[in-house]
């Protein structure tokens, strides 16, 4: 952030340091994430940083808040153990998943579920919007909510979750709880004018879906469809984030009515999971967001990065339906010069009408 003139130490880092010394830290942290003014202050630096890096979309975190502060991290409201880690290369603080807090279904049933109507949800969204407006809408603030798959398995860890999945009634309860939460939040956010809502989920990994397409059709997609219907009724659009090879789920995702899908992971094991082939097949039904390979960004040459970025814009952007973005994340292994190479390509080739290759 220093490179872009944003002082570091104002956000997560100082928050973590301060919490170590504060009494009533859970209560103070809960106040902080429920207070629109306090949240807006945090978003100001974050969105300003995005503006300087030339990223157009920032998120406001409507779910995933802490339930309990633990040594080196938090247990979030879904029951995920999240720890703050420092990347050795440049000291970046990363929040990393360290397993599920809930050991079994009995523990799940006694866990207090996140309430969609808590004031902090709307406060987070409105804080993001407030900063967006202060910045003359140069950044689009997109509220992010947990989806059905990731919060379901990460509350337990995958091994314990697989046991839950072996008991259909238990599995249905867990997925339904997360579906109900996401649906209610979608309605609340859309009712308050959110143009785009990010369903922050993960359906798969490099070798395919986390569970069978049949299980997705039983537990996840009925909710996803309802979420899309309710969003569309209110004039909002749905952006779904899911890593992994989603080939076996793609038709379902499109049929549910998802408007845009991120990040079209470029390093899956499936050569058919290729953004150029997918755009050809589904380009009139869904918007594609992403695909600049994080591996290439970290390890490739600048000219490889430039060539691929140019190819994405020139082949996918004509006619619309493509948002230029990372194929997973801009992680700390990616140096500033590499990111700036991507942005140079965007500036040169990313304005309509798109120049042919």
């Amino acid at each position: 952030m220093e490179h872009y003139g944003i002082p570091t130490g104002g956000g997560l880092t100082s928050g973590i340091s301060a919490l170590k010394y504060l009494p009533f830290k859970d209560r103070i942290a809960n106040w902080a994430v429920s207070n629109q003014k306090f949240l807006a202050k945090g978003y100001t630096d974050y969105y300003e940083f995005l503006r300087r890096v030339k990223i157009d979309i920032g998120i406001s975190l409507v779910t995933h808040t802490q339930r309990k502060i633990i040594k080196g991290g938090i247990i979030d409201e879904f029951g995920r153990i999240m720890k703050f880690e420092e990347y050795e290369g440049d000291g970046t603080i990363i929040t990393a998943y360290h397993g599920g807090y809930l050991k079994n279904f009995e523990e799940y049933e006694s866990w207090i579920r996140p309430d969609p109507h808590e004031p902090k949800r709307l406060a987070a969204y409105l804080a993001g919007k407030e900063v967006q407006e202060q910045m003359n809408n140069e950044i689009l603030s997109v509220p992010a909510i947990g989806g059905m798959m990731e919060p379901s398995w990460e509350a337990f860890g995958f091994e314990r979750f697989s046991r839950i999945l072996g008991h259909p009634k238990q599995a249905k309860k867990v997925f339904d709880d997360n579906g109900e939460l996401a649906l209610e939040l979608t309605k609340i956010l859309a009712d308050h004018g959110a143009e785009l809502i990010l369903i922050w989920d993960d359906y798969g990994f490099k070798n395919g879906p986390f569970m069978s397409p049949k299980s997705f059709r039983t537990y996840v997609f009925p909710w996803l469809k309802r979420i899309c219907v309710e969003a569309h009724k209110r004039g909002s659009k749905i952006l779904l984030h899911s890593d992994g090879d989603l080939m076996l789920l793609f038709d379902d995702i499109v049929d549910c009515g998802v408007d845009a899908l991120n990040p079209i992971e470029p390093t899956t094991a499936n050569p058919e999971y290729d953004i150029f082939k997918l755009k050809e097949k589904y380009g009139d039904k869904i918007t594609f967001v992403g695909n600049i390979s994080p591996v290439m960004l970290a390890e490739g040459t600048i000219s490889e990065i430039e060539d691929y970025s140019k190819k994405l814009i020139q082949e996918l952007a004509p006619g619309g339906g493509y948002i230029f973005s990372s194929g997973h994340s801009i992680n700390p292994a990616i140096t500033v010069d590499r990111w700036e190479a991507v942005m140079r390509v965007r500036e040169k080739y990313g304005t309509y009408p798109i120049q042919a290759s």
Partner: protein
């Protein structure tokens, strides 16, 4: 029962077999056949990751009952390998399922856990004489750790005695080789196959 993923009842079923004086190795063979079938179903998209992991959980339940009954001499004959998730990386689904699949394939795993520093791996190789080190890494920013482990094994004079196989989201065979690994497993099933080949078992 492995194929049916009956995690709740496998332990009692194994106990019943043992109580009926069925040879523990016959029970183990049946379990292994079950895991092989699960692996086949995974590769043909009948089963997916959740089923593969649940089969692993089922196998673990069975093995906990069975292990004390497998005689010492035969247990000693089992080959050992080392598995770890590289330093800075806290993802273990892939490593854990590989470990369970290896268990059923007759290969014991010294599991060094997640976020594992290279020197701990070197010490484990020295201490165990393991011929294979399997490394998992999910993050682009941690994949360079594979080279660190490769170098640490070289510096310790152990690299010629041990094969390094890797797996994880940002990797493929070319990147794996470039980072100093000998082999790359595309998934847990492929990993087991390749580790067996590296061990020549």
């Amino acid at each position: 029962m492995i194929i049916e993923l009956d995690v709740d009842n496998i332990a009692s079923a194994v106990q019943n077999q043992l109580d009926a004086c069925v040879d523990p190795f016959t029970v183990l063979e049946a379990l292994t056949k079950g895991m092989d079938e699960v692996g086949r179903r995974y590769e043909t998209n009948e089963y997916f990751l959740a089923e593969l992991v649940l089969a692993g959980e089922t196998m673990k339940e069975a093995f906990a009952i069975l292990k004390p009954h497998l005689t010492t001499s035969n247990a000693d004959a089992r080959t050992q390998i080392i598995a770890a998730t590289v330093r800075g990386d806290n993802h273990d689904i892939g490593k854990n399922i590989l470990s369970t699949m290896l268990l059923s394939a007759g290969i014991d795993v010294i599991d060094l856990g997640m976020d594992c520093p290279a020197d701990k791996i070197v010490q484990a190789v020295k201490g165990s004489g393991a011929k294979v080190v399997a490394l998992s890494c999910l993050l682009t920013m941690t994949m360079r750790e594979i080279s660190t482990v490769d170098k640490a094994l070289r510096d310790a004079g152990l690299r010629d005695d041990v094969k390094l196989i890797v797996g994880g989201a940002p990797l493929n065979m070319a990147i794996a080789k470039e980072l100093g690994a000998d082999d790359y497993g595309a998934d847990a099933i492929d990993g087991v196959r390749r580790i067996k080949a590296l061990l020549e078992v």
